[in-house]
């Protein structure tokens, strides 16, 4: 899977405790920077009603969907209760030379 590293953006283009949307070859991802300065990536759409999670709010290790407040742990993808019950898929992330890459599989 290490062949599939895709460059997302410069690491400083994502604020701490924030998220951006990243579209690649017809797919959409959400890429996060945690309060402790680590980077993570998940599928970009909420598993409840296909809303872009990047419009939502990041608090600690939780992303909250902007539409109906479905919550996920963006580090593990785990759904944290109603209205969401299906986990988010997560993707490997690395930072190299100041840029963020995700492994799209």
């Amino acid at each position: 899977m290490t062949d599939n590293w895709i460059e997302v953006c410069a690491a400083n283009e994502i604020d701490e405790e924030d998220v951006i949307r990243f579209d690649h070859e017809g797919r959409t991802f959400a890429v996060y920077r945690s309060p402790d300065d680590e980077y993570f990536a998940t599928d970009g759409l909420c598993t409840h009603e296909h809303i872009h999670l990047a419009d939502g709010l990041v608090m600690d290790d939780i992303i909250e969907c902007p539409k109906h407040n479905g919550r996920f742990n963006y580090k593990t993808g785990q759904a944290k209760g109603a209205p969401v019950c299906v986990n988010l898929k997560t993707y490997p992330v690395k930072v190299e030379a100041g840029n963020v890459f995700i492994a799209v599989v």
């Binding site: 809303i51 419009d55 902007p66 539409k67 109906h68 407040n69 109603a82």
Partner: protein
Amino acid sequence: MKSIVIVGAGECGARAAFGLREKGYEGEITLIGAEPHLPYERPPLSKEGLVDAQGPKHVAELDRYQSARITVLTDAPVEGIDRGERTVRVADGRKLSYDRLLLATGAKPKSFPGQPENAPLVRVLRTHADAAAIRMKLAPGSTLAIIGGGFIGLELAATARKLGAEVVVLEGLPRVLSRGVPEEIAAVVAERHRLEGVDIRCNARIAGIEMREKRALIQLGDGDSLVADLVVVGIGAVPNTALAEAAGLVVDNGIAVDETLCTSDPNIFAAGDCCSFPLGHYGGRRIRLEAWRNAQDQGTLAAANLLGAAEPINSVPWFWSDQYDLTLQIAGLAEGAVTVVRRDLGDGAFILFHLDASGRLISASGIGKGNAVARDIRLAEMLIAAGKRPSPQALGSTETKLKALLAA
């Protein structure tokens, strides 16, 4: 405790049922609904659900109830509660015993004086069956008359336009969305509807509705009249309190509950649209909410409190509405505000913050395309819950991140 019965299989009742298992309760759970469906989400009924014309969007599928050992009774109206023997009586004659009972009976659409009964061309929108009946009448060339310019009416107007129908909205007050939506935001919504071809008539009086063959003739108070293929009445809802009243529970604009959702009977709780409750963040003011998020929050809280947690209601009212590509979100209650601050987010999106005389943030209302206002409204909700007094200057400037105000 061996048996918990939940009357009302909507969002709130379903949430409570699952919440009981999440809290570790091992006894019986029976969730009883009057409709023929598993609990489903009502918000889509006036929106995309009406366009899709699919079955109802279930809160959870049957296997999840089965694995959580929740018995769901559908098509089962409850006819009475015997508080002495702690039983509820279902229409088919069954009697179910409870140790604790949750009433999540919801609300039903209001009708106006003189509204024709059992008239297939004069409908309300509350259930999947209502939506399906309305859907059949919406097509290019048909005319829909909506009585009431509130959330339901305007969401339906937007959806009906999408389906090609002509739409007239008759609102009795001088403007649409007069309940709980600031005028500046309601004006954006009304303007968009006009651009989409909806005929909004404010200050309208309905003098009467007559059936003319396959159409309805609406006589207006000003002597004008209009003909429609379907009339939908969306003028608010009243709480379903009949069961509670018959059982002698205290009712006050809804089944009256304390801050833990407990009714005047310590074994009976009520939650969601059907109950009125004291709202801590607003000085204990007694209110009733008809909102999806409230149904969820109170369902979850009721589960904890049915098991004895005695946790108080601590959430901030939150609503949303989707019309065309616009989303409106409101957190808090603006009544009593003395200061209003506008924050412009670009591309026409903006938020109005309402502060009380002490400078406390009490409400935030936003509108914009897609989810443009969602993140800031969510942060505003947290600022309200935290009792913050942010400076109006900071609220008005996008230079200041709301998250920073929360930490301050």
